[in-house]
């Protein structure tokens, strides 16, 4: 005859439902807010981007090295694309982070996937930023401009 045993169905939660320690701080709130704010800005940036690149003039046929170079000669478009790159990447990364959180079943898988995700994000953002800022409309190798370049006459 055991004396007291735990009351079995009050407060006994199946282990997979137990919440382990809440997150401190407002990270989720800020992420949530960021998704909305970046979303609004992205609408302008992306629609502008698509319109200029695909709709104006000859559309996609006009896109070549020269087209890009022409755009990035203007700091306005440099800033535009930079903002788009950062916002889209952060927005997208946070979105995918949510999805990983939702569907990864094990904590270890979750950690793995997120590591891959964040690494990719860092690489892409760094790469893209470098490209925009260090872009040289008239690349010269060994004193000879590369073909297709956009060199001042």
């Amino acid at each position: 005859m055991s004396a007291t045993i735990e009351s079995p169905r009050s407060g006994r939660i199946a282990p997979q439902y137990r919440r382990h320690g809440g997150s401190k701080g407002n990270f989720e709130m800020i992420a949530w807010l960021f998704m909305r704010l970046s979303g609004v800005v992205l609408v302008v940036l992306i629609f502008g981007h698509l319109f200029v690149n695909l709709m104006v003039g000859e559309g996609i046929h006009a896109i070549d090295f020269g087209f890009v170079a022409g755009k990035w000669a203007d700091p306005f478009w440099q800033f535009w694309d930079l903002a788009m790159l950062w916002l889209a990447m952060l927005h997208g990364t946070n979105g995918v982070r949510t999805i990983i959180n939702d569907y990864a079943e094990k904590d270890s898988t979750r950690r793995w996937l997120k590591t891959v995700l964040y690494s990719a994000t860092v690489v892409i953002i760094v790469l893209g930023t470098l490209v925009i800022f260090t872009f040289d409309p008239c690349p010269v190798v060994d004193g000879v401009p590369l073909p297709g370049g956009f060199c001042p006459a």
Partner: protein, 599 residues
């Protein structure tokens, strides 16, 4: 065997049980055992309101409330209890408000109050606004608020634990006048865990029964499927008497065939009843107040129409509640729930079509006898130490032979609170009573009979036949003949019950098995009700004997007390029928002399 030890064990987590738990949980180690998750309890179905003489909107006082309660119960009310209830009503409502209950408010921000049948100012001079309410779901808000406060106070619940037995011991004792008697004492309860099928013993210093009503003895009822009178049945089997079981309230307007309640407010707002000929028949039965006659009169008139062949529908078994002459806007404003239920469940559009209704079994006035401190009585005046009861399962008796609307939500709060305090205080001073030897024996046998039965009888079939005969013979009209018919039927059901076959043999969530056990309680209670009804050769409140249509104060101004007594001779005399012995208990009078009950 699993044994749990608690100071206080509360059986049932409806309004009464949780109100008790809030008090007891803060004073003593308390467990609440309930066969349903607390918020599933039927207190949540109550709509109308809970009355208290707050005098927030007009002059009122608790003495008038006491008078209304006594008169409403046709003077069979114990007046000391009614006084307690009416007086403590005010605090009961304020307590709930402080716990967070979202009452509707007056323009000044106070708790709003509205009228309800039978509540009057100055001893019947005019209707008074006494019922506090939260929209049309007062009961729901009471249940939720009490559960919320149980969460706040960390009350320990054992959900889906069916209590199946009360453990008592008997001691030899001597009365003041020198006569020896057997004193009962409480040791605990036996409980069945629905999830695992295991039995658990709960040893406790105090046990509070708050397990609600027994409406499922009838077919047409506003009560939940789970209101099978377990608490009453368990107590009765353990030698505790049941008081005033013949009094059962039938509400006139239940949705036909379903029993789902349509609030009295409908007729208050101008709806009328019609029979199959389109006739407003209440003009014949109550020429002056017509459809607004008291519940019992209207219910009887409806039943009479059906009996005389003027019922509607394919089986001519209901009448119609006609709202078609009312403005749809008026209906929407005042009766949203009625229209919703009628549309959802009968597909009837109340704006344009009359709604099929029939009296529905609603409330058990009787139950486990207690005094005003909610201590259970083992006879007219001997208390069982440590055993308490409150709510619909108990009979204090504040409702006498007919409960007033809104007095039950009040009852569960006032006496639930009292029970919680009393049980905890008792547990502080008392010791555990030694468990009887082999405490599981009775319950194990009960379950084994049901589980291992190899007969060919189905629980559902017997239950349906029981409910049919109760509806046909024990409802709003009763005669010696119909009551004897019920008793004959029950005798055959009891015999068939021994040959039931439960299909589910498993341990997990075996509701099949528990339905069989519940049927056992229903049979027991139906029999007690019928025997008591047969004994009471008069008509009073909810009990109407066609062969004795008048109230007979000389002979019957007293409570009936039914004892389980296997040695009671089945001699066919009214006082003693096959296993049940009937006795009486005097009614407590304080200041109101019986008068003719008329409004």
């Amino acid at each position: 065997m699993q044994v749990h030890k608690y100071d206080v064990v509360i059986v049932g987590a409806g309004g009464a049980g949780m109100r008790a738990a809030i008090e007891s949980g803060q004073r003593a180690r308390t467990a609440v055992l309930t066969k349903l998750y607390p918020t599933r309890s039927h207190t949540g179905a109550a709509q109308g309101g809970m009355c208290a003489a707050l005098a927030n909107v007009e002059e009122d006082n608790w003495e008038w409330h006491t008078f209304d309660t006594v008169k409403g119960g046709d003077y069979l009310v114990d007046q000391d209890a009614a006084e307690v209830m009416a007086k403590e009503a005010i605090d009961a409502v304020l307590d709930l408000e402080k716990m967070g209950l979202p009452f509707n408010r007056t323009p000044e921000g106070r708790i709003d109050q509205r009228r309800f049948g039978g509540h009057t100012r100055d001893h019947g001079k005019a209707p008074v606004r006494r019922a506090c309410y939260a929209a049309d779901r007062t009961g729901h808000m009471i249940l939720q608020t009490l559960y919320q406060n149980c969460v706040k106070h960390n009350v320990e619940f054992y959900n889906e634990y069916y209590v199946l037995d009360l453990l008592t011991v008997e001691e030899d004792a001597v009365r003041e006048d020198g006569t020896p008697y057997k004193q009962k004492r409480v040791a605990g309860v036996v409980s069945y865990d629905l999830a695992s099928g295991e039995l658990h013993v709960f040893q406790a210093k105090s046990v509070v029964f708050a397990s609600g009503g027994a409406g499922k003895v009838f077919k047409t009822t506003s009560n939940a499927h789970t209101l099978t009178g377990d608490g009453m049945g368990i107590a009765f089997r353990r030698g505790i008497p049941l008081e005033d079981m013949e009094f059962f309230q039938f509400h006139p307007t239940g949705l036909a065939g379903l029993g789902i309640l349509l609030s009295e407010a409908a007729r208050g707002e101008g709806a009328i009843l019609r029979n199959s000929e389109g006739e407003r028949f209440m003009e014949r039965y109550a020429p002056t107040i017509k459809d607004l006659a008291p519940r019992d009169i209207v219910a009887r008139s409806m039943a009479n129409e059906v009996r005389e062949g003027r019922g509607c529908g394919p089986n001519k078994d209901y009448v119609l509640l006609d709202l078609t002459h009312l403005e749809p806007a008026h209906i929407d404003a005042k009766l949203p729930d009625i229209t919703e239920f009628a549309r959802t469940y009968l597909g009837v559009e109340p704006y344009t079509e009359p709604v099929p209704v029939f009296p529905t079994a609603h409330y058990a006035m009787g139950g486990i006898p207690t005094n005003i401190t909610t201590e259970v009585l083992q006879d007219n005046d001997t208390v069982v130490p440590g055993l308490y009861a409150a709510g619909e399962v108990a009979c204090v008796s504040v409702h006498g032979s007919n409960r007033l609307g809104t007095n039950s939500l009040l009852d569960i709060n006032v006496f639930g609170k009292r029970a919680g305090i009393a049980a905890a205080e008792y547990a502080k001073t008392a010791d555990f009573v030694e468990l009887p030897e082999n405490p599981l024996a009775y319950t194990t046998e009960l379950l084994d009979i049901a589980r291992n039965g190899t007969g060919d009888e189905k629980v559902a079939v017997i239950r349906k036949e029981l409910q049919d005969t109760m509806d046909a013979n024990m409802q709003v009209f009763r005669t010696a003949e119909t009551l004897n018919q019920v008793l004959r039927d029950i005798a055959s059901f009891e015999e068939r019950y021994r040959r039931i076959n439960v299909q589910d043999k498993g341990k997990r969530f075996n509701l099949d098995l528990l339905e069989a056990v519940e049927l056992g309680f229903l049979l027991e209670l139906a029999k007690v009700m019928t025997v008591a009804a047969l004994y009471r050769e008069e008509s009073r409140g909810g009990h109407f004997r066609e062969d004795f249509p008048d109230r007979n104060d000389e002979k019957f101004m007293k409570h009936s007390m039914a004892y389980k007594d296997d040695h009671a001779p089945a001699d066919g005399s009214a006082e003693s029928i096959a296993g049940i012995r009937l006795a009486t208990k005097p009614v407590v009078f304080t200041r109101y002399e019986p008068m003719v009950r008329k409004y």
